[in-house]
Every structure is written in C-alpha cells, then in structure tokens.
Symmetry: C2
Subunit: 346 residues, 2 copies
Amino acid sequence: MLAWTCPAPLRDGPRVVMGHGGGGALSAELLEQVVLPGLGEAGPGALTDAAAVELGGARLAFSTDSFVVRPLFFPGGSIGDLAVNGTVNDLAMSGARAAFLSCGMILEEGVEIDTVSRVAAALGEAARTAGVRVVTGDTKVVESGHGDGVYLTTSGIGLIPDGVDLRPERVVPGDVVIVSGSIGAHGVAILSERENLRFGVEIESDCAALGGLVRDMLAVTPDLHVLRDPTRGGLAASLNEIAAASGTGVVIREGAVPVPEPVANACAVLGLDPMYVANEGKLVAFVPREHADAVLAAMRAHPLGAEAAVVGEAVPEHPGMVVARTGLGGTRVVDLPLGEQLPRIC
Amino acid sequence: MLAWTCPAPLRDGPRVVMGHGGGGALSAELLEQVVLPGLGEAGPGALTDAAAVELGGARLAFSTDSFVVRPLFFPGGSIGDLAVNGTVNDLAMSGARAAFLSCGMILEEGVEIDTVSRVAAALGEAARTAGVRVVTGDTKVVESGHGDGVYLTTSGIGLIPDGVDLRPERVVPGDVVIVSGSIGAHGVAILSERENLRFGVEIESDCAALGGLVRDMLAVTPDLHVLRDPTRGGLAASLNEIAAASGTGVVIREGAVPVPEPVANACAVLGLDPMYVANEGKLVAFVPREHADAVLAAMRAHPLGAEAAVVGEAVPEHPGMVVARTGLGGTRVVDLPLGEQLPRIC
C-alpha cells in the first residue's frame, strides 16, 4: 500500500532513499511530485490502492502491490502469503471480493529452486484460503547480486457489490472508528526474525485475507464510509490518509487501541510506537454512528474480527489532523510518518 | 511473455539460472515443474500470458509482465514503453482491447529521482499512445545493490469482444501463418546499446502497442485462430508454443520472414539467429486460409502492419514441430530455444 492521497511538503533530493518506499510522507511525495506528473495523471487521488473501474457493464476493483520483504519466510507467513493477502485486502478495502490474481516474479540468479517452490506453494495455499485464483503470471531472472531471491508483484480484480461506495471523502464527523483487532504484530514479527531478537514468546505476523470479514460487515449495511488496511506506516498512516482526504479530524482513544502485551513489550524495547507498525491482517473502518453497534457485532462474530474495538471517531475539529487522547487525559498529534520505521516490511 | 504451454524435459538443477527467465524451454520447465505444482494449478496451460476470465457478466482478459531490461533507456524505447506495450500486447493477443493498467515499481535506493521521473513520463506517454490508463500502482524501495535502478511490473485488463476465441488449440492444418512485419530489431537494439556496438546505422527497438492492429484484423473476421507476440525467444519460441499446444506441424519459408538488412548484418556479426531474437511490436497470426488474403490486406493498411507477410502454414505432418524451408530447398528444424540468447531483454 501507498499513501496515495496524502499531501506532503517537497523533500525530494536528487536520489531515491529507503523512506520513499515506506508508505508515509516520502512515498506520497514521490507519487505526487514525480510519478503522477510523469504519468500525466491529475493531482492527488488520481491513483488509489484499488481503482474502481467500469468494464463491460461490470463495476470492478483493480489493485497491485509489489513485495520485497526480508526475510522471505517469517513467523506467521511468507512473501507468498503477503502477496496474496495484500492484494486481496486492497480489493476488500474497496468492498470488492477478490476473484482473480496475477503474479509477476523477479527471481535472482542462484536462488534455490526449492525456495521458489516454497514461495509458489505459499501463494497457492494463501489463494485457496482467500477463495481466489492465480490465473496469469510472468517470471524474470536478474543476475546474482541484483535482486534478493524473490520479488513478487501481485495484481487482482474483483467485483464491487451494488450500493457499496467506500471512499475517505464519504467520512463525516460523528463516524465511528473501528479496528478489527490488535495492531503491531506483523512489523514486530519481521523485525524479530530479521534481527534474531527474542522476546520470550514468538510473535507471529497477523497476515490474513480480510475478504470474508468485509463481506460480513457489508451484510450489516453497504453504507460503510471507508475501510483501510493499515500496512506500511501502520494505523497512524491510514488514519492520516483518511483525515487528509476527508477533511475531517480524527480523535483516537489511545487506551482503546488493542496492542498485544508481547508486541507492546517488544515495541518498548525497540523504541517503536505500535501506532506506526505495519499490520497485514487488520482493517480500520469509519462507520456511520447508527450502524456502528451492529457492524462491531458482525466483526466480532468473524474469526478475524474477534478483538474488534471502537477506538475513536471523526470530529469537526482540527480538519485533516489525527489526535490521540492519552490515558492521562492529555492529547498528542499522531503525525503521518515520514517513512516506514522498518524498511522492507512487505 | 513466458512459454507457459511448452512441454520440456527435466533440467532443473538446485538453483535458478539466467535461462529460467528467457522464455524458452527452461522457463517452461520452471513454470510447469516448480511454480504450477506449488500453486496447485493443474498441468501445462493452466496459466497463460493473458487469462480469459468471466466477472460480473463481462468476458475479460487479464495479464501481467515484469520488466527488468538493461539499460533502462535504449534506441527506440525504454522500460516504461516496454511495460505498457508488453501488457497491452499480451491482452491484444487474446483479442482484448486494453482498458486499464496497474504498475508496481521496485526502485533501488540511490537511483536518481530524475530517472524515476523519466520512466514515469515514458509510461504515461506510452499509455496515451495505446489508449489505456494507468489507474493503480505501488512503489517499493530496496537497498542499493539489491536492484537495478527500476524494475516494473504492469498488469492489464480489457474486454474480449464477442465471438473472439484466440487459442493455439484452434489451429488446424491449412492455417496461414502471417507475421506483422520484420523481426529482430528489439533484441539487436538492446544488445547494441548494452555492449556499445555500432553497425553503421542505429537499430531501434520496434517497441509498439498492437491493440489497433489487432482490432483491424478482427474487423475482417473474429475467427482468427491464434495470435502471439514473439518477445523473449523470438518467433521461434512463439511458433513452437503454438505447434506444441495445437498438435499441428508448422512449416516456415525462411526467405519469406522479413529481416531488415541492418538487423541481419548485426545478427551475422554477433552469431545470432533472427528467428530467436526478441521483438516488442510484432505479432504472428494463424489465420483460416479463406480469410488470409483479407486479413493480410487489413494488416498492410495499418502503420504497424505495413510489412506484414505470409511466412508459412500449419501442416498435418510432424505434429508439434516447427520446420523451416531454407532457400536452397533444404529444411531444418526450428527448435524451442533453451533460454533467451540475450538475458534481460525485457
């Protein structure tokens, strides 16, 4: 995912830095000041994580994501799981049920065939779990030292149901902010594996496909306002994107945001803020107040929403800004991160 | 493109080699013996360059390609042109008119912002020329030394017109084989630029979008049997794929295959066979004999088909095999290449 819609001041130096891939302000800047003008597409919001397009009378969502995660296999998942679930989730955030996926692989010369086989098996298993089929693909090979084993790019298409129109512009003050579960596990799992850190219990990525959860939410009402899966940049980036695009303020009750104790402990040791840590199987929803209780109940009835919680609301004050109420009655601004705290998290 | 459908003997060692990305027998082997079993998809032909899928009552083509060409800019085009035209052409080969593209970028830390900007501009210009829109995307960054400036993966969707059913299985003996123009320019252009070779005149890539040409061909008759764009592995790979999948033989009159003199000269110097050199703006069509003259005329009336020529036919003899009649009255077998003669040609 990329913060396609967030305005940011000019910071582009003459060269690409790691933060340009972090899903925060630097990513938004690269998109809006370099990529979009090059493409000739008009202004912020011209590209979205999942585009809604009309084709042959069908209303489709179309999405793509590249995956460069290190390591390829980690507790709770692999690059193959991320590639399927990331694209399925981008489609789900537009209300679409993913139907078909494509997969482009860039392999590095010298990578073990067995590794490619394990990645393909992970792709296949994740696709079956998500109820989607990989129907087309491509493979390229680059010389040893010009890749990292396996890079994947998945794209997906799915139908957007009638009456569903999920966009941050639809958010209004009074909307209730619900997260589908606890945050921070994916980023901490990757970092732990990469740096060989141990925190007593093994923390597993939350990587999962959210299509079924979204379908159950939309069965309560098609009139949800916006959904986002807080991947790179974490919940903070998603909330900032929504606040900026909707022009409303967002208030979060910090203590209401579920963070598992091992994740909280690991973040404390590592100096990370869970609000900025990537997730791969969570969503945040802005729901009209009158539907919030029913939507929350439907989420809690789904295995991937069992820990769903109301964490805040959209407000007329401080438009475009996200503020957290802390446990002590204070408030702090939750900024859009400049980049991702952990490079190559997905 | 990848030789998705070509059977090949087991050659997989324990590690990926450059030839696995070459679009020949090694690519087919990786696909059929490693990727497809991993995905759990059934056997050869389960994945195609462009999948035909039904969604919401619409008959769609869906395709993806990754691009790792070196250098990023070359005479006649760039990675941006390849990324748009390659995906547009894969869709066109299924008869579909490309409507929407996605683009995933994997950038290398340290690449100049100006390079990214030029790639984005090339993408935009190629998309406008092809009449397609880039509607969604993603950007990732990998550390310096783990990429090559810019890798792109484009996916595309388009509508398949009613009555169009382009598949190699539809080829029957008697079908006329037509190529849309002269072959070999792309591969020679890339190699010349990469190795700083000069052959008197600058040879430019033929990189172009073939959607309009295919539309004009289908206007003559929707009953074309199969189309292929001979990219990696050249015309030889495309003909072998079609022969293998259709179970017919293919006979080519070697002298009828148009090769520009500078390309022929360069190939002679470099020890390359033009039949195996990649193209990026050409197609080969298997056309029912009764429609061949009219289709050829329609192709020649299009700027990208001005040099179209009948080069051979499908025959009942030597099923699955491609044979070339040489100028001296002899014949030679045109094998499926093991890999691409030139790595990272697209």
